[in-house]
Symmetry: C2
Subunit: 326 residues, 2 copies
Amino acid sequence: MGEFELLARIRERLPATPAHVLLGSGDDAAVTSTPGATATSVDAVVDGVHFHRSQATLAQIGHKALATALSDLAAMGAAPGEAYVVLGVPSDLDEDDCIDLLDGMLALVETTGTVLAGGDLTRATQLFLAITVVGHAASPDAFVSRAGARPGDALVLTGEVGGAAAGLALLEDPLLERQVPSAASLKARQLEPHPRLGAGRALALAQASAMIDLSDGLTGDAAHIAEQSGVNLRIEGNAVPIATGADTVLAATGEDGLEQALGGGEDYELLAAIPPARLDQARRAVRDAEGIALTTIGEVVAGEGVEIRLPGGGLLKPTRGFDQLT
Amino acid sequence: MGEFELLARIRERLPATPAHVLLGSGDDAAVTSTPGATATSVDAVVDGVHFHRSQATLAQIGHKALATALSDLAAMGAAPGEAYVVLGVPSDLDEDDCIDLLDGMLALVETTGTVLAGGDLTRATQLFLAITVVGHAASPDAFVSRAGARPGDALVLTGEVGGAAAGLALLEDPLLERQVPSAASLKARQLEPHPRLGAGRALALAQASAMIDLSDGLTGDAAHIAEQSGVNLRIEGNAVPIATGADTVLAATGEDGLEQALGGGEDYELLAAIPPARLDQARRAVRDAEGIALTTIGEVVAGEGVEIRLPGGGLLKPTRGFDQLT
């Protein structure tokens, strides 16, 4: 496969570059000029670690890699700006395969208003993508970090959790599909996550004090906010919306369905702390932006750590989870 | 290996974050606020493709990965700003090895004034690094692209070429060391390249009209400027400074030493087009910035492509080279 030839085919497919990106792919660097502040995040996914080529199409792999990177911008309340993509290409991927992967990203580039402004291609033994995304805001304090949650804030969650974990279970054991009619939508939650960029900006405008996207799971990511804000998060397990059928699928794998849904990663919903007086505004804005619910699932109190009250009356005190490099 | 534990060790080693980086590693994204324009470039290197762990220390691998990324900023005339590092960690690398790799980068971070503002760690079967660098300038037109060379411009080169190619030959065949007393410095050119950030800014200030860093080799990279500027580059082979001993080592590998030095990649010197009236200013500024020579090696004329006059009287007309994904 020729690098210049593939690059030429890729450039042909890129939409026209908007005015603030003055020099796109093809020079030593991309040049941008955007007033205000920027939020930058990098994310890498590797075949066999973060996805399996047997379980997803190349377009889905491309989509998800970009979606999970953009989800970090959503968690900052940033407006998406530019994306830069490094693609590690194994020898069994041909040029058309690379274009399929790119097309999965381009669909999301278009719906989110992101500009694919540059990248790099390299040979690799294993397919990998490393994606840098840059988001913008009028000023640095318009971004929402993980560190601002204060006692008295309400704890809110966009959408539903557990769907992506159930989708993964279904991909790994197709016999589980008999358990639920919602199997297709659960698998879509795993394979084609949606970055909550509109909800993130709505929550930032509504003065959310801290925010994170759920990549590791509600229990694990809540612990990040608790630690970085120096507060205790009290969550009512009963109040957490679970994706339809997710607990059934997860229970069928042998462990407690609800606990798995609460701990299961990759839903890419947003968890935020917000002053109660702003709740109504935030709820309306999130519905207007994405047509999804914003649910109050608990509160921020003084202290440390995370406590989740289970429906049976028990208390779940998650740690940050098994510390393993993935 | 624990991801959180390794991240904690990495963060301990990072220098204090300057004022314009408002939120560094550890949140969903890094937040920066810098007026003017930005240049952004991404570069990936993979074990077995761009380096071999048997030939370089981990610190050298880290240094070179960051140096080659920063070299793209040098080629824009940008002031270095932030770097974001993705590290793919194979199972035979332990935590101390990752810290060695990081330390190779941190030394360069310090000498160049770059801020390591974020990153991602992942498991991989093969060691890889994907590095995003962001540079700054007062305005977009302060950057130098590849596309502005005009007939009448002089063609100038920083430093010397051929050293990195000779260094690679020495690493692959240690018996060649007998050929030259400069073997150690040639290997250093291959293993520890230096991004010409000071020279790049000096050339930008001196109104260079086009610039590129020599990653693929003088002949190949000159072709990029010729193509993107729509001009012909005439280079006097005799005028090109060759690293001491490089042609001897390269000739000993069986091919013409000079032609290999002209075509050999990874020197990361800068090739620029510049109006002749600015030559003296540029030469002084490059010497002041980096203590190296700026040599006029040819001129820009109307037409297309690259012509290199060889000392024997022959004419070398390089194409962009063998188009192979590496």
